[in-house]
Homo-oligomer: 459 residues x 2
């Protein structure tokens, strides 16, 4: 491509605008789990649809029962591969709000980072691909491949609409490779390509005891305390080493292979650095596995929220009427979230004390994913990242889940590239989420180079 060096030059010149556009998008509080935010979530969809329309793409807002998809495509290029960029415009909740240094929807620059909810997860990251395509088109040169964008608004609540519609959209979304930037580099200065993700299964358990809060003096000893029942139940799910105690839980877990274990052992980050980065004295987890093995390739159980009784100032000596817990599992290939739900129900039934009523609400589930590390797309991505970031990427797995990825593989029969421009300490899902501005710009550049490299592959 004769115009390509010019394009990279253009990208640099446009960097201020690229940043201010991201800031604009981040101002929209598109929290998909908050039913009072329907309008704001929609505004975030409209924002990206307009951005793509203005660049000349054919754009469609596809309504769903909840939050719309934004679909866009560039013209087909016969003989060249088709790539679909997938990302999401919805964001996580912001609590605890008092821990944010600047408002979650008032994007603020500090120390070369842009702070806002969604900065890295995923507005900032998906926008890198949108910017690279927009600039390519603005340069007046046709792209050497066809690019389709699918930007959804329910990723943070389980991608239910997309999951349901995907089979019916198979022809429209047909592609050779899906590109997703919704993960992290391995470490500061060490970019990575992620070839594996964990699955997920999330639940809420509600326990109901007495008809209302009771005086613990008059009733303590006579009535089961739902908060204690909840602690017993959660304690029964996992032992003190982090081994999950639900019968059959590990039956389908695919063991790690020795090649992976050896590759990961060579990765630069030490446990001490990792512990310091997350602010704990000591790491924790299943014996016999390294930290990366535990968080990338072993299933885990976490309690995400506890809620019962008196939480305000001072003492209130009650037996609370109710207690509830949100908990989740990260799964690995080949665990099945539906099987897990059945096993959990069985386990809870066996351990449930008398005197409390219970309901278990499974929220969403997804299986884990493993991509080929040998594809030409992987090679193209590796080269593009090395050109943009100046360092060859390492091949890693990620402990997080992008529930729709496995389904893309299954339904579309495509390859998959997970190119994380973020950093592990970007605080996705936490207060003070950020995206390093340099990584944003390098991501845009890597994306532009990637289109050039993939354009040279045969379809």
């Amino acid at each position: 491509m004769s115009t390509f060096p010019t394009l990279l030059d253009t990208l640099k010149k446009a960097s201020d605008r690229h940043l201010s556009e991201l800031v604009e998008w981040l101002r929209i509080p598109s929290i998909s789990s908050d039913s009072s935010r329907l309008d704001e979530v929609r505004q975030a969809a409209v924002w990206v649809a307009e951005k793509l329309t203005n660049a000349g793409l054919k754009v469609e807002m596809i309504p769903t029962d909840r939050h719309p998809f934004v679909y866009a495509e560039t013209p087909a290029v016969p003989g060249a591969p088709v790539v679909m960029v997938y990302g999401h415009y919805d964001v996580q909740p912001v609590e605890p709000i008092d821990q944010w240094i600047s408002g979650p929807f008032e994007p603020t620059i500090r120390d070369g980072n842009l702070y806002a909810r969604g900065a890295t997860d995923d507005k900032g990251q998906v926008l890198t691909h949108i910017q690279s395509v927009c600039e390519w088109l603005a340069a007046g040169e046709p792209l050497p491949l066809q690019i389709k964008f699918l930007i959804e608004g329910e990723e943070e609540v389980g991608s239910e609409s997309l999951e349901q519609r995907l089979p019916a959209m198979r022809d429209r979304l047909a592609c050779d490779c899906v590109v997703i930037s919704d993960s992290s580099q391995y470490a500061d200065g060490q970019p990575a390509i992620t070839y594996g993700l964990r699955g997920i299964a999330t639940y809420e358990l509600k326990l109901t005891g007495p008809g209302q809060d009771l005086h613990s003096g008059s009733f303590g000893g006579a009535v089961m305390n739902p908060a204690i029942a909840l602690c017993h139940l959660m304690s029964s799910m996992v032992d003190s080493e982090g081994r999950i105690q639900i019968p059959g839980f590990y039956d389908r877990v695919r063991p790690l292979d020795d090649i992976e274990r050896d590759q990961w052992k060579a990765l630069p980050q030490t446990d001490e650095q990792f512990a310091e980065a997350v602010g704990v004295d000591q790491l924790f987890g299943e014996e016999g596995y390294s930290t990366d093995e535990r968080r990338w390739a072993r299933p885990t159980f976490d309690v995400n929220g506890l809620n019962s009784g008196h939480q305000g100032e001072g003492v209130k000596t009650i037996i609370p009427a109710t207690a509830s817990v949100k908990f989740s599992f990260r799964l690995v290939p080949d665990q099945d979230p539906n099987e897990l739900t059945d096993a959990i129900k069985q386990h809870l039934k066996q351990h449930m004390p008398s005197g409390v009523n219970w309901s278990l609400l499974p929220d969403h589930g997804a299986t884990g994913m493993l991509a080929s590390t040998q594809s030409p797309f992987m090679e193209a991505a590796s080269q593009a990242i090395e050109e943009a970031f100046g360092v060859e990427p390492v091949l890693i797995r990620e402990g997080g889940s992008i529930p729709i990825v496995t389904q893309f593989q299954e339904v579309l029969g495509c390859d998959c590239l997970l190119l994380g421009w973020g950093l592990a300490d970007d605080n996705a899902h936490s207060p003070n989420e950020k995206f390093r501005i340099r990584d944003y710009h390098c991501g845009i550049q890597a994306s532009a180079v990637l289109w050039e490299k993939i354009g040279k592959l045969n379809s």
Copy 2:
């Protein structure tokens, strides 16, 4: 007393005013644990001080570091006993506020009950004694005994100021018997005199894990989850039958004697009635003890509040940075709350996983109490109650704690009468606290008769 039948008549005629005065007092939101309510707590003290002053008593507001005592006395009566009425003008918090049918500080009558926070615990109950004394004095006749009132404002937060000041106030508070109405009748239609109370020890445990909430995908399996640690720890405190697992916990527990067990077996309420009243399918507790034995004479452990991570709508897959729990024990004679605190610290230390920091905050503690069932005051109270309520009271213990009672016994060397006018389902400490209006008026009448009976005893 020739004037006595007239006085009972007066009480009946004044009943509307007695009720409207209680309503007035209940409107004042005197939540002692809420540091933003200092003014309102004080207003409640001023209200009762004015009521007593207007009746002609010598009244003093005694300041403390937190909430003042209201002290008042009638003239000494040589040769007759001195009685101190103890009560409190402070109330419990009101959460969960959305479960109140009418506002906690908007006293409302429904079905013969007055609903408001503090209705039974303790404004309504202590006011019965104040009304009886005020009417006696208003009738122009001297009381046949000296009555001292000590109405404090920290009962719901542990009576710390009173505990500290009590030894220095020994002479002023000197009395033959303390009368306290801050408990319940045995059941609807069955009044009771309470001769035993459980002690209490309350705690808050805070666990801190990572520096902030972490993404459970990227970090799950690498970092100890403080909410899980909390569930393990609480689960380790008590077994599934309600037996407390802290080493040495039962060492000092005074066993129940057979006479008590037999008396309690004869009490009319069945487990089925009790379960229905509190809204559970099934009661719960230590094997080998009846329901009354478990709640009156056996120590218990309760979790009063759990707080961690995401509690809002939807899913937030985090490892929470912190988790906290409020928990409490009800103790029996001769357990010591300070010894317990040491044992809990030891137990937590042994069970604490690595990777979390913790702090244990003991809030308040008190030993349990047992009064003589044979005193002439007990006999006088029994007769007074039978005259006012029309039924002979049964002798019971109570599972609740009035931390200062044991200290009155120890410091003042006095007898103690616990005369509960409330009902078990009055929702003390719960939403929709109430006091049956008939019980309020019967309480005033029983109190007036009690002064007459005690006045006839020799000092």
